[in-house]
Structure formats: C-alpha cells, structure tokens
C-alpha cells in the first residue's frame, strides 16, 4: 500500500570542496563539458572562469549586466549574453574575447550551443539568431509575438525551441519553412525539453505549467501552483518532470500516456519558495534550492523525503551539476559560489 513512498532514501554524502566570493547576484553557472572548469556570470555583467586553482579569473564584462552563459560542447569556447545586446565568445585558455556577435536586440535573454555541435543560438528582444563556429549568421527569425524569454536546443540538436508571449516557436534546423508554432494564449516564460524530445514543458506567467507533445502538438495544462513556475527539470530517462512554483517540489509522471489524469508526487521540505531545480544528468538525484538558502537533494523516484540537505547564507539563485553528476555548483544572491561533491 505504501510502497516506497514516505521512506527516507539512503543518505547521500555532501561535502563542500571549493568556495569563491564574486560579490553580486549569481545569474548563471555553466560547467565545462569535462567538468573541470566553471563559468560564472554575475548580474552586474562580469563573466568569470574558475579552474579551482586560486580565485576565479575575470574574463570580461557586459555593460548593464550579464544574463546567460554556455560552453561549446568541445570545451574550446564559452559564450555569454548580456543586457548590452552582445554575445561574447571567450577563449577559456587565454581568457581573450575571441568573438563579439550582435544579437539583434537590447537584452540577450539566453545563449545556448547546439549539443554535439559548434553552432550558437541566442535570443535578444524578439529575435533568435544562430551563428556557426566562425561567427557567421546561419539563421535569424523575429517571428515572436513578444520578447523571447527562453530558448533551448532539442537534445539531438535538430531544432531550437523559443518561448514568448503566445507560446512556443520551433525553429527546425536546415528548414527554410516558417517555423512551427505551438500556440497558447498566455505568456510562456521558461521551457525544458524532455531528454527524449517527446515533450516540451513550459512555465507560465499565469502560474501553470504547459505540457506539449511535440510530434502531435497536443497539449495539457498543469495548474494549482501558487506562483509562476520558473523551475522545471526532467529526469534523464524522460518520464518524470519536477516543477517548482511553490514551497513544494512537484514530480509529474509523464510516462505512457503522459501526466494527464494522474496525481503528482509532492516533495515537501523547503520552508520557502523554491528557486532552482536540477536533476542529476545521468543519475537519480534531484537538487532543489530555495529563497532562504536551503539546498536539498532527493531521490524522488524512491522516496519523498530528502536524502541530504545543506544551508547557505542567502537565496540560492543557481545550481548546476557537472556532466558526470558528481559535483554540484551553487550560486547565491550575495555572490558566493560553492562546489560540493555528491557521493552515495
């Protein structure tokens, strides 16, 4: 009757191995593909690189603020976007700025490299641009109804999905046709592809989560959240989606026919609103963080109680797993960045 739910998972060992102070709101963190370096963007615009020998090295800055940072899959470059309307590409070895790409709008919302490729996508204002490795524009689209709020590559690299007011736009690579729209009368703020690319989940301004079956365009709405949902993370197998938008982590079973008509699993333990959710890239653990600085680790398919926890001083604004899932970087509002080793 009770199955495994309600049991505490086997304890997970969490040990802090590194910490640096960057003195401003950590707006983005990105691990190098090999997991040996960490790129850090702060809200004041600085782009820094930590290689864990001494303090992080300042690469440069975006006037007005930075917003997003990403590594090229080969580890030979990293890109940052900022409120100055520029995408800057950095050489992680020399620290030099190797390219400066005009993104087409005032603010760059997001930068993302194509998985297993060198193409770089960025959204700024209503415009999506994609450049090749040499910095030449391959694609440009301004078909969005409002400023693009988020973008993500399909896990196989075949398309870019963007969110804005009135839903999702799918920009399929190599197609000259007008991009496909998954229309929804609402403002979609953030999106997450399921790892198998079957589904896209979006967090909405109206405090719902929208759930799209990509092939058929069929959709479902998940409601009942007290706040807008900016935190979405998929389990690597693609059948479970964790959502925030409250003090409770909600886990939706999207296997089989999808989440409709099923009751989600509620993971309670945070004293205040959740700010970050991240499943381990290959493992079973889910990291969740909140506005008070609480970090919790769950094994949510096995237990509804946290497997580990740790307190930080201020709001946790970013968490990022290394690609191998063995380390976790945690960024805070006050500018502290910590790295913890996570072991079974």
């Amino acid at each position: 009757m009770f199955g495994l739910k309600g049991k505490a998972a086997a304890t997970v060992d969490v040990r802090e191995t590194w910490r640096a102070l960057l003195d401003d709101f950590i707006i983005d963190l990105a691990w190098s593909p090999s997991g040996d370096r960490l790129a850090i963007a702060t809200v004041d615009g600085r782009v820094s690189l930590a290689s864990f020998r001494g303090p992080p090295r300042l690469l440069g800055s975006h006037a007005g603020g930075a917003s997003s940072i990403a590594w090229r899959p080969d580890g030979q470059a990293l890109a940052s976007g900022g409120l100055d309307g520029w995408v800057r590409v950095w050489d992680p070895v020399t620290g030099a700025e190797s390219q400066q790409l005009a993104a087409g709008g005032d603010w760059v919302a997001k930068v993302a490299y194509r998985p297993r490729g060198g193409e770089l996508a960025a959204a700024a204002g209503k415009t999506l641009r994609i450049w090749n490795i040499a910095g030449e524009t391959l694609y440009e689209s301004a078909c969005h109804a409002s400023t693009v709020s988020d973008l993500a590559w399909n896990p196989d690299g075949s398309a870019v999905a963007t969110t804005a007011y009135l839903g999702i736009v799918l920009h399929v690579r190599g197609h000259a046709d007008p991009p496909r729209k998954l229309a929804w009368k609402g403002s979609s703020l953030t999106l997450a592809w399921s790892p198998t690319a079957r589904f896209i989940a979006t967090g909405e301004q109206d405090s719902t989560v929208h759930f799209w079956h990509v092939k058929t365009g069929k959709d479902a709405q998940m409601w009942g959240f007290p706040r807008k949902v900016l935190e979405l993370s998929w389990h690597h197998a693609g059948n479970h989606l964790a959502t925030g938008g409250s003090d409770t982590v909600v886990l939706w079973d999207c296997g089989g026919k999808g989440p409709e008509g099923r009751s989600p699993t509620m993971l309670e333990g945070h004293p205040t609103r959740i700010t970050q959710l991240a499943f381990q890239p290959q493992g079973e653990l889910l990291a969740s963080a909140d506005a008070d600085g609480t970090l919790l680790l769950w094994n949510p398919l096995r237990a509804t109680r946290p497997a580990a926890g740790r307190m930080f001083l201020t709001e946790i604004t970013r968490v990022a797993w290394t690609p191998d899932g063995k380390r976790l970087a945690i960024g805070e509002r006050a500018g502290s960045v910590a790295v913890v080793d996570v072991g079974a």
Partner: protein, 449 residues
Amino acid sequence: MSTALGKIPVTVLTGFLGSGKTTLLNRILSENHGKRIAVIENEFGEVGVDNELVIGAEEEIFEMNNGCICCTVRGDLIRILGNLMKRRDKFDHIMIETTGLADPGPVAQTFFMDDDLQSAMSLDGIVTLIDAKHVLEHFDDSEEVREQIAFADVILLNKTDLATESQLDDLEARIHAMNAAARIYRTRDAAIAMDKILGLGGFDLDRALRIDPKFLEPEYPFEWSGAYELEPGEYAFVVGAGPDPAMNACLRRIETADDPGMRDAVETAVRIYSEPETKIGPGEAVTPGSLLFQLDLAGGPGRFRALIAERGAYALFTEHHPDEFSAYLENAAGQPVQPLATREYKPDHEHDDEVSSVGITTPGDLDLEKFQRWLRELLATKGADIFRMKGVLSFRNSNRRYVFQGVHMLFDGREDRLWEAEPRHNSLIFIGRNLDREELNAGFNACLA
C-alpha cells in the same frame, strides 16, 4: 508614508505626448531629494541625468488565457523590474513613464498580478499629466485620455499659461466629475513639489479626505459666485423674473475680493449649502455668515436686503446664475455694484462623460461576510468597468480601520491603525465607466451590520 514596509514604491507617469511627462521626469531626476531613482521609459524623451538608471522598453501587453481583463499585465515591466530586483545597487523609487496612448490598467495590475513584483514593490501612485490647452481635442474621442484620468491619483493640469482661468475651471470641474478622488494641481512647465507626487502611498485615502472633504461630492450645489468689496451699510440683492420660484444664496466674508479669495471659500460654501435653508421673503435680509438663505420668488421678482456690518471682501454664492434672473447687487444709493471677480460652477449633470466617480461615505460598521459577498459579486459582474476603487472601512468586531484599493477585479486590502477619536465610518470611492450611483449605494448600505 503608508507604503508597505520594505517595498520599493513605484510611480507611474501617464499623459499624452506633449503633456509634459519628460519635463516632469527631468525635474524629478534633477531635484535634490536624496533618492536613488530608476526610470523605465516607454516613450523616448530627453531624459538623462548622471547617477540615475534609465532603461528604455517597448510596451508588451500580455493577456492571459481566461480573457479576464484583470489578468492583462505588462510583460516588459515584469522582465525589466525582475532584473532590477536582482541588482546590488538598490533604488529608493521606481518611475515608469508610459507612452501617451498607454492604458494604465495593465501597468497597475502588473504590481498585483506578478508574484515577484508584488512581494518587492508597491504601486505608490499614478500621476497623469494633462495638456490644459489641447486635452479638450481628445476628450470625446479618446478612450485613453479618459482612462488616464480615471486611473490617476494625482492629475497635473499642465501648461496653464496656454489656457484661460475659466477654461481651466471648466476642465478641472470636468476632470473632477470623472475622478473625484484624484488631487488636481495646476502647473506650468510641470513645476510641482515632489511630495505632491512621490510617496503618496497607494492606501492614503485618508489624506485625500482630510485635505478635500468635499471630494466625495463632486457636484457643486451652486452655479455662480461673485466677489465684492463692500462698505458697511445696507445693500439690496435685486432678483428679476426667472425660471424657478426660489433661489438659494449665501454670503461669505473672504480674504480678498478676487478669484483666489473666492476659491478659498468654495469648500465652506459647499458645506453651508448642505445645511437646511433659512427661508426669507422679499424685504427680508441676507446676512454674511454660515446661513443658507432660500429667497422666495413665488410672488415674482423681489428685493432682498443684504446687511453689511464691516467693510471688506465678500463672496456671494448663488444657486443659479444671476443672469437667469437678471439679478444684481445694488448699493444704498441705488447703483448696481459690479463683482470684482466671478466664477461659474457647472453642475455635474451637464457632463455626459461616461467615466465618473461614485463616493460613498457612511457611519456605522460593516458585516464582513455580507461585504465580501457583495464586493465579489460586484467585481465579477462590473469589474471590467471599475477602473479603480479605494477606501477606508469599519468592520464590526474589529477595532482597526481596514484600508483597501483595487484595480478592475483585483483587490488588495489590509488592517490599518486603530480607530482613534474620530467616529467610525466607511469612506470609499469607485471610479469607472457607466457606474450606477444608486445601485452602488444601496448595495453597500445593505452590508452594514
């Protein structure tokens, strides 16, 4: 300041292109008020002062799926203010300058509807600038100008140097009839003291009541007043044949026999006009003071004596325009005395603007459940037409005042300070389109415990 603790106050600046928004903004930014101000500009004027943050933005209106008007918010503000809140450099105040054609509704609603903004910021006030010379060209065909007036907490009747005093009076009366809760200031080059527009506190209905006790009563009970310089002695108010069998009048001592002197007495005159009348017939006397006289004209034209004991400035407030009765003041020598200044007060029913205010002020305590039921029903059915509402309420079983404000269907209220020496009462105001005064009054009164 009654802004909720720790929240950053936000002032929204609306007004047509050319009404003086940029001038006002530059004044605010250059004034030495010691505040760090961030400005979000939807309209690109020549704003630029060092040390202040100015962010340009394009208006993005987001309607949500259910089509409810109150769920319409401004995506650009959510994005920009969301970023601002993450910054280390904190701001004491945020100014949002909208485009001339902006609907203030979604701007205001954004601060109620977005979780992150609601917890960090509060709408301090909506300030609307009006070009006193050109606004009349837009009044009848522009929904935007009416909405900008209806939503305002403060209205600056700007560019007064380009309009005559009587044009300004007419305009002010018309604006007042639409939005009786707004404070109206006449300005030139948008020159205004900062404390009149910043730090209003969204909830501060009390202040409006204190400064302007008649604001819930936008209709003037008199149509005309004249200022005279009079010597001690006996005068006569000579009234000819007219359309009514009686006319109310009161005579007040004023500071100076000019327009400002008369304007200061308007409020008192409104109060005197709410008192019972003292009926007098021809030959009887009108005296300066706090009595409202009803001049009996049933028998046709008549001469009413006016007794002046002290030399000085006086204002005569009459229910009808003297011209309608060929009425005038005559001195002891039988010579007409010309007023040194006159004012006309357009009765409210002459305005057919669909936007109006309904004020309710009543003593007694409310039944919480009845009130909630009534308000819920009212907002569900009429919310789209109710632009704003504000009020101070007295609930049975609570020794604290309850203050609230709302935008369309959104409502935000909280308990306020204890009731002190003042009698417990309810004061609230609705500003909206096609409001039914009687229905609102009846509905509200039915909620009294």
